[in-house]
Amino acid sequence: MDYFLQQLINGVTLGGVYALIALGYTMVYGIIQLINFAHGEFFAAGGYMGVIIISYLAANGVSPVVCIVLGMSLTMVYCAILAMAVEKVAYKPLRNSSRLSVLLSALGMSIFLQNGLMLTQGVYDKPYPTAMTAGGFELGNVMISYMQIYIILITSGLLVALNLLVFKTRIGKAMRATAQDKVMSALVGINSNKIISLTFAIGAGLAAAAGIMVGFYYGSVNYTMGFVPGIKAFAAAVLGGIGNITGAMIGGLIIGMVEIFAAGYLSSEYKDVFAFIILIAVLYFRPTGIMGENVDDTRV
C-alpha cells in the first residue's frame, strides 16, 4: 500500500507538469488549428531563464521566497513575449497557407530555438539552487518532498486561474469566440490577431512555470529538455481531446500516472511505450479524445 501511494504521488507530480505544458498545445490548436511543435522549447527556455534570474537574485542575497516568486513571474513574462515573437515571425505570415507549411514552420522553429539555447547557454546542464526547496516529510512510509507539494499546489493554482480567465472574463469570451469562428468574431469587433497572440503568450507562460518547477524538482536543466516532455504533453492534449482545456489537464494527469505506474509495476524501460499505447487506444476507440463531445462549449 505504501508503495502504491508513493507511486501515486510521483504520478500526480509528473502528471501536473505534463498538464501545464499540454495546455499550451491545446489552446493554440483550439484557436488556430496549429500544432505548435515549438511549444516544448518554451518549457526549456523557461527552465533556463528561471535558473538565470533565480541564481542572480540569490547571489545578491534576496530571500528564497522572493527569489522564487519574482523569478517565476519574470520568466513567465519573458516566455510569453518570446512566444508572441515566435508567432509573429513563424506563424502569422503563414496563417492563410496550407496547414503543412505552418507545421513545418513550427518544427523548424523548434529546432531553431533548441539550437539557440545550446549556442547561448552551452551544452552543459545548468544546476538549480535546489537547497531552496529541498526537504520533505514522511507520512508512514511514504516520502513526500516539499517540491512535490509545491508542484501540485502551483499547478492547481495556475489551472484554476486559467479556467477563471477563459470562462469568467471578457478576454476569455473573446478567445472562445475566436476559436469558434475567426471571421464572425472579427466582424463583431474582436481583434483576432491580438487574441491569437495572447493565447500563445498564456500557453508559453504556463510552460515556463512548468520549466522552473521541473528545474527545481530534478535539480538541473538542459537544452534538450523540451523535446520529450513536449511530445508527451502533445499526446496528453490529444488524449484529452485537443482544443479542450479540461481535457488537456485530465490527459496530462493520465499520461503522468500511466508512465509512473508502468515503470513501477511493469518495466521502467517500456514506460514511454505504455503512455503511447494508451494514446493510440484512445484515438482508435474515441478519436475525439476523452472530453471530445462538448467541444464547442469549452474549446478555447
Partner: protein, 375 residues
C-alpha cells in the same frame, strides 16, 4: 616546344612551392559535441587542443611546420561517426583521437582502418574495441571488464555488502557494465535484488527509485552513460531516502556530477582510472588546460595523452605512415597525465581502476582495487 616549356615552368614552380612549405600534421578528433554526451565530447576535443598547444609551444615536430585539428561531432551515433570518419579522411588527417561512445568507435575505426589512419580512443571502454585485430586501433583508457572487477572487489572486500540493486540506461556501455556486475555478484556473496533499465534522456526516476527503496539494498549500482543524468538520479534517490551505498562508474564521473547534485553527491563512490595529480606530466597538462577550458572533465586527460602519445610517436618514427607510427607507439613508454603506459600488441594500454569517493565537494582517491588498500 612552347607547350613543353610552359609545362616545365609550371612543374618547376609547383615543385619549388612544395619544397618551400614543409608539411602540416593534421589531426582529427571525433566525439559527441552536441547531444546528451556533449559534456564529455567537448572535454575530449579540448584535451586534444591542449596537447597540440603544448607540443607547438615546445617547438613542434621536426619536418612539420604546423599541427592542426579538425574536431568532428559524432553525436554518439554510429552513422554520424562513419560520416565524420569519411570527412576526416577527406581532410587528409593522419590520426584520429576518438570516439567517445564505443558504438561510434567500432564502425568508425573500420572506415579509418581502410585508409591506414590511426585511431586512439580516449573513452571507449568496450572490450571489442581492441579485440578485432585492427592494426590502427589504440586505447588509452581502461576496459569495461576490468572496471566491473574493480566494482565487485570493492563490494566484496571493502563494503562486505550482502545485496545490490542495479540501474542502467540500456547503452552497450552502461548495460554491459551492469550485466557484468550482476553476473559476478552471487559468486562474491552479494544477492541481486533487482536490475532495472531506464531510458536515455529520462529526467524523472521517481518510479524506479520507489522500487529501489522498497527493495532496500546495501549497494545501489548506478550505471548511466551521462554524468548529468547521474546527478539527477542521485538527487532524486536522496530525496526518496534511499540509504544504500551509491556506487557508480566512469561515465558518471565528471565535475558536473558535483556541481549539479552538490551535497547529494557526498559519500558516493565511483570507479575510475587512477590519475596521479602530483605527477609532473599532469601538472604540465593542467597548466595548459585550466586557464583556457576550466576544470578538466573525465576524459580530458585521456584525450590529451592519446594526442601526446601519437605526436611523440610521429616524432620518433619521423613519418606518419601506419607501420612506422605503430612500431613507435608499441616501443615507447609514455609518462602521460592520466597514467604511465605502454601500448600492448592489441592496442590496449592497461586498466588501473580505483574507487573514488565524493568528499567535501571533490573527488578523492579512496580505495585501490589492485592492492585492496585505502589511499
Amino acid at each position: 616546344m612552347k607547350r613543353i616549356l610552359i609545362l616545365a615552368l609550371v612543374l618547376a614552380v609547383s615543385l619549388a612551392s612544395a619544397a618551400a612549405s614543409a608539411e602540416t600534421l593534421k589531426l582529427g578528433s571525433m566525439s559527441p559535441l552536441t547531444g546528451p554526451y556533449a559534456a564529455d565530447g567537448n572535454d575530449i576535443a579540448n584535451g586534444v587542443r591542449t596537447a597540440i598547444e603544448v607540443v607547438k609551444a615546445e617547438g613542434g615536430i621536426p619536418g612539420f611546420d604546423d599541427i592542426t585539428l579538425s574536431a568532428q561531432d559524432t553525436a554518439c551515433d554510429p552513422r554520424q561517426a562513419v560520416a565524420a570518419a569519411n570527412k576526416l579522411i577527406n581532410d587528409g588527417v593522419s590520426a584520429v583521437i576518438g570516439a567517445y561512445c564505443s558504438s561510434a568507435t567500432l564502425p568508425a575505426s573500420e572506415t579509418l582502418d581502410e585508409e591506414d589512419i590511426i585511431m586512439l580512443t580516449p573513452g571507449s571502454t568496450n572490450e571489442n574495441v581492441t579485440e578485432r585485430g585492427l592494426q590502427n586501433m589504440f586505447r588509452t583508457c581502461g576496459r569495461d571488464d576490468d572496471q566491473s572487477k574493480a566494482a565487485i572487489a570493492f563490494m566484496k572486500d571493502y563494503l562486505k555488502a550482502k545485496s545490490i540493486y542495479l540501474v542502467d540506461d540500456k547503452t552497450a556501455y552502461s548495460q554491459g557494465l551492469a550485466d557484468n556486475v550482476e553476473k559476478a555478484s552471487p559468486a562474491a556473496g552479494v544477492q541481486v535484488l533487482g536490475h532495472d533499465h531506464v531510458n536515455q534522456g529520462d529526467k524523472d526516476f521517481s518510479a524506479v527509485l520507489t522500487k529501489v527503496k522498497a527493495a532496500n539494498p546495501d549497494v545501489f549500482y548506478v550505471s548511466l552513460q551521462n554524468s548529468a543524468t547521474g546527478a539527477l538520479l542521485v538527487i532524486q534517490a536522496k530525496r526518496m531516502g534511499i540509504d544504500a551505498v551509491y556506487l557508480a562508474q566512469d561515465a558518471v564521473y565528471h565535475p558536473q556530477l558535483i556541481s549539479i547534485a552538490k551535497k547529494d553527491a557526498e559519500g558516493m563512490f565511483l570507479t575510475f582510472g587512477y590519475v596521479d595529480t602530483d605527477s609532473p606530466s599532469y601538472q604540465k597538462f593542467i597548466k595548459a588546460y585550466e586557464p583556457k577550458y576550466g576544470q578538466p572533465g573525465a576524459y580530458s586527460t585521456y584525450a590529451y595523452d592519446s594526442a601526446m602519445a601519437y605526436m611523440a610517436a610521429v616524432k620518433k618514427a619521423g613519418s606518419t605512415e601506419l607501420p612506422a607510427v605503430r612500431g613507435a607507439l608499441l616501443s615507447m613508454e609514455f609518462k602521460g597525465a592520466s597514467k604511465t603506459f605502454r601500448y600492448k600488441e592489441n592496442g590496449d594500454s592497461g586498466s588501473n581502476y580505483i574507487i573514488r569517493k565524493v568528499e567535501g565537494g571533490k573527488f578523492v582517491d579512496y580505495w585501490n582495487a589492485q592492492t585492496g588498500e585505502k589511499f
